[in-house]
């Protein structure tokens, strides 16, 4: 039977649906959910970047810290100077996005009645990493959104979900 459901999330709308579908299914079978996010090295959308900045580095007036720092006089807020300069470096932002996407997915899964949830951040080729995690945790089922963030590219090179469905040794669900 289904004991472990792996859900790949990237913050896209389809991935959100995948979380809901996978959580629903896990709840029905009393299965565990493993949420996996592979760092969006190539596909970080403006939207997500902004969300991550607001969520994790909020400064004055709810603005993203990069904007906020630019606005405030140094003398008034000396603390602004000790804010890590790396706040905008790709890695920090990517990690923040990962945290945001995963905890959002966790909340959704919990709302669907799943109690056992684990989260994993991976770095590298999405298909390879997801397959690795799937075999590491012994997933019975892999759930992905039909189209992630890379809409246009997916049309040309074949999206993550299609590659997964072809390469995975276990049942794959492509959610639309």
């Amino acid at each position: 039977m289904v004991q472990k459901v792996l859900i790949a999330v990237d913050g896209s709308e389809h991935a959100g649906k995948a979380v809901e579908f996978g959580a629903d299914l896990a709840e029905k079978y009393g299965a565990e959910v493993v949420l996996v996010h592979v760092l969006l090295r190539d596909d970080l959308s403006e939207n997500l970047r902004h969300l991550a900045e607001v969520e994790y580095h909020t400064a004055e007036g709810g603005k993203a810290i990069s904007e906020a720092i630019a606005m405030i006089p140094e003398a008034r807020f000396p603390a602004a100077n000790i804010t890590p300069k790396t706040a905008q470096s790709p890695d920090t932002v990517l990690r923040a996005v990962a945290e945001y996407v995963l905890s959002d997915a966790e909340r959704r899964a919990e709302a669907h009645g799943v109690s056992r949830i684990s989260k994993q951040i991976e770095d590298g080729d999405p298909v390879k990493r997801i397959l690795e995690v799937a075999s590491d945790v012994n997933a019975d089922l892999i759930v992905t959104g039909a189209r992630g963030l890379s809409d246009l590219k997916a049309l040309i090179v074949g999206s993550v979900s299609h590659k997964l469905a072809n390469l995975a040794p276990v049942t794959c669900v492509t959610v639309r």
Binding site: S161, A165, N166, L167, T171, C172, V173, T174
Partner: protein, 151 residues
Amino acid sequence: MSKKFLVAVDGSDHARKALDLAADLAKASGAELVILHVVRYEPLPEGLKEYARMEGIPEEEERARYHFGHVTGDRITKDAKARAHDRGLDQVTTKGAEGTPADEIVAAAESEGADMIFVGSRGLSDARSLFMGSVSHKVMHLAPCTCVAVK
């Protein structure tokens, strides 16, 4: 809203696994299950028919193949229906079609308004399935709804 699941069967083990998962899930979520079998068939184009006549190949042969496809297809869907019943699912209907499997599965999902498609997947490697054209691969590309490739 009542849910509807579509599962494609062809008598293979993978299709049987797809049927089992579809039936279990349909039962758990109160959905109706539509079992579809597609008879792989394409009528010979006129030019080829002419050629067959010239070569003295009897038309009966093609008709027999066509008939055979439908008879086995009926059997496959009947068995599948019984299997779904055995797993405790009552709301089961069967459907037959002929043509190219992937296209017919997608067309049936559209006309039935299916919420989910279940297909067995042979688990061929990517390169091989690209050349051979796997049904599940094609269905996944064209499906209007959520698609489950069962292995």
